[in-house]
Amino acid sequence: MLLIIPMMWVLLTMVFILLRVAPGDPVSAAVGGKLDPTVIAARRASLGLDRPLIVQYFEYLGQVIRLDFGKTLSDNRPVLDIIRDNGGATLTLTIGAFLFALVIGIPLGLIAGRRRDSIADVLIRLFGVITYAAPIFFVGLLIQMFVARPLGLPTSGIASPRTQFMVGSAPKTHILLFDAALSGDGNAFMDVLIHHLLPCLTLGLLVCGVFIRLVRVNILQTLQSDYVEAARARGIPENKVIRDHAFRNALVPVVTVIGLQAAMLLGGAVLTENTFNWPGLGTQLVHYIEALDYPAVQGLVTFFAAIVVVVSLAVDVINALIDPRVRYR
């Protein structure tokens, strides 16, 4: 638990250094093609970017300790407002993706494990490898072209403009899906839900490949274990053996992997959001990286890191609850 503090400090320091060693600065990124170098230098000075790095570093650490992430340089937004306004979209995207990954990955892994080396097993393994290895933006583009257009599903965004305006302009939770549900407008809710389908599917496919392989391997292992053999020897039907004995135990490692997939999902969310013009934190992060907006990038990366740490911690706790072998003493 205490390891979280040095971990976060290393991360904050790395982000700070990497941003500073990158060529350019926020001012030249914004108006470098327009203004004289002396004017640009004056503008850098007005933002305090000409001060010694060590001064800027300790000022930054002090702000983080006070949970003050400051304001963005490129558009004057409080970083916490960005996290509040855009975090909901990333949250529903990753949860939706996770559900898709479970719904697709676990049954396919089960089938592949039960029918080892059959045609179905080969096809499912191939599917798992492809979805894991294919770049998200490419999968997203294919889905936009060959799924969205023929089915009349939206190709981008989290809602149609009118819904976004009606529901999003008076947010209660800052999570558009929930706000749409709370608005009592069924059409608005369905509109937001439909907009979630393809981005969640795209991101979910990335993770489902991991689940397929994991469930398949665990099923194979449990099917060869002594207690499964004992169950078979007692004359229990094969389907019941699989369902009640093999499958349940095969799922335990999946819970552990879920924690590891949190980072992968967030990384994938950045690419998915950009492909589908999704108004989440990933889109914001890319935007601010392009603008070399130091406070924004530092704040968002710190937030992402904190999320991964918290999820990993939660998974450890859940793991200990469901598997007596890993309980801490």
Binding site: S46, V103, S156, P161, F165, I194, P279
Partner: protein
């Protein structure tokens, strides 16, 4: 996990998917029914820095500000002459004094009355705030000129009565009235905007044809017709949705699927060609003023040699660049000033011809005793000016190498690093692009030719510096055009840069939308008030 929980989870997801699929068509029709009114949707990949006029110096922000705010004078579409908007009249008393009379009884969208004090307040706060992302540099003619503590110069603006504003300029400047047409000249409500800091984007109040109904940065801006606006820019649609896209790919998908009615800035040439071929939307082209050019570094051993610069000017094949690198979506440029501007001359065509001239290039190098082939490093940046910048650079490099007079190589750097590198003389010749701040030939000449230009390439010609000052002070249109012509001729003689092309202003619109063609002009102002959509 319990078996029942797993079953419940799977059932829940399946039900949601089924429900979503079942209601998909219903929602689509509901959505299309909703957008079947005069309201329309603009999709753009431009970003917004700020909606407060004191905080932005970019096309995306300025275009929203043009709809939200009034300026004293505005640029009508496809015109090079400003016309009054908030002002009833704006006239130079002399090259240093500009007097504007406001129209009576004008109101901001919140009902506050606009007076000359609001104009003074707007200009002063812009200078005073001096925001790092702002355009206060454009107001240099009324600034006190201080780097620290920038403010309005003493007595630079006087307001004898509620409807009269007099600008007393630091130096003769006939382009200042053009600056007032930009969003930097927007008039804000002095009762709403703070004097010394930016106002939050969602709170901006203006007097333009539209008022801001909602704004989510990076996602959406919703504009509603301003009931208090009574000027000549009356909006046609009651409501306009502006949807922001991260880049061209989702924007192209959205316009193809009919999710946006108009896509403006910026689709790639390949996407435009695809949309043109499919023909489901209109690809509308207007004259542009984007300028792409190659800058010579006068501090490099190669770039300081006039004969080398001229030889390259003889060899460049602009038509090949336009067709092969940009699918014909740009127009070859033979002057620093784009066509359509008063005083524009195709000086490079006159001196170096419209097509490559190998013999003339050989002769100019031989006469100067330059040993060939001349080694040349060409710089470009791969992202900032779009994915075709590399194609353009490759074209130029191949053209120069094919002559046998050059051994050119190309090298690239990301935009932030690129700006540092070209100032450090890393390249002999490098690519840059330009959008005008205001529609006047001066905005293409002064930034490039005076004392090495904003890019500090080391070029300095006293005669040129003096002519720039003269054209800025000249009120006689014919005399000014002559000086502007002299400047372009001198640029062709000295070759501090080589013009490459002028971009077109291109939008893609649904066939139900009208008025897009009318607003596409070199100003790159997307006049949303001119656009309408049939049911």
């Amino acid at each position: 996990m319990k078996k029942t929980a797993l079953v419940a989870l799977a059932a829940g997801v399946a039900t949601t998917l089924a429900l979503a699929a079942c209601t998909s068509s219903g929602t689509t029709s509901s959505s299309s029914a909703a957008t079947g009114s005069a309201d329309w949707i603009l999709g753009t990949s431009d970003t917004i820095t700020a909606l407060d006029p004191a905080g932005a110096y970019d096309i995306g922000s300025w275009n929203l500000q043009y709809s939200l705010f009034q300026q004293l004078v505005v640029m009508p579409a496809n015109s090079a002459t400003e016309t009054p908007d908030a002002a009833a009249s704006c006239k130079y008393d002399d090259p240093k004094t500009l007097t504007c009379k406001l129209k009576a009884n004008q109101k901001f969208s919140n009902g506050d009355v606009m007076t000359s004090k609001d104009v003074l307040f707007s200009m002063q706060r812009n200078l005073k705030i001096n925001d790092p992302n702002g355009a206060s540099t454009l107001l240099a003619s009324i600034s006190n000129g201080k780097t620290e503590g920038q403010d309005l110069a003493e007595g630079a603006i006087t307001t004898p009565d509620d409807t009269t504003v007099v600008f007393h300029l630091n130096a003769p400047d006939t382009t200042f009235i053009k600056v007032l047409t930009t969003a930097a000249g927007s008039i804000v409500d002095s009762k709403v905007f703070p004097a010394d800091k930016l106002l939050a984007d969602a709170s901006v109040i203006g007097s333009g044809p539209y008022a801001l109904a909602a704004y989510k940065p990076g996602e959406q801006a919703v504009l509603k017709k301003n009931p208090n606006y009574a000027g000549d820019r009356m909006g046609k649609a009651n409501q306009i949705f502006v949807q922001f896209y991260k880049d061209a790919s989702p924007l192209k998908q959205a316009v193809s699927a009919g999710e946006v009615d108009v896509a403006w800035r910026t689709l790639s040439p390949v996407d435009l060609a695809d949309l043109k071929t499919k023909g489901q939307q209109d690809v509308v082209e207007g004259q542009g003023s984007e300028f792409r050019y190659w800058v010579w570094g006068f501090n490099s051993a190669v770039g300081k040699e006039a004969a080398v610069r001229k030889a390259a000017a003889y060899l460049i094949d602009r038509d090949a660049i336009a067709t092969k690198a940009y699918n014909g979506n740009v127009t070859p440029s033979y002057s620093i000033v784009p066509p359509g501007f008063a005083g524009q001359k195709d000086s490079f065509k006159t001196v170096y011809g419209a097509t490559p001239n190998l013999e003339a290039a050989k002769k100019v190098l031989a006469d100067a005793g330059v040993t060939t082939p001349v080694p040349l490093t060409i710089g470009y940046t791969p992202q900032h000016y779009g994915p075709n910048a590399v194609d353009e650079t490759t074209q130029l490099m191949n053209q120069l190498n094919a002559s046998g007079l050059f051994t050119a190589k190309m090298t690239s750097a990301e935009w932030k690093q690129y700006q540092t590198l070209y100032k450090q003389n890393a390249y002999d010749l490098w690519m840059l692009g330009w959008y005008p701040d205001f529609l006047d030939a001066d905005n293409y000449l002064a930034p490039f030719l005076v004392k090495g230009g904003f890019f500090k390439n080391g070029y300095n010609n006293d005669q040129v510096n003096s002519w720039v000052g003269a054209e800025q002070a000249e009120t006689d249109t014919a005399k000014r055009a002559t000086i502007l012509g002299q400047l372009q001729d001198q640029a062709a003689a000295d070759v501090p840069l080589i013009p490459s092309w002028n971009g077109k202003n291109i939008a893609v619109s649904s066939k139900k939308v009208a008025g897009v063609k009318d607003t596409l002009d070199p100003s790159y102002i997307f006049r949303m008030w001119m656009v309408s959509k049939s049911g």
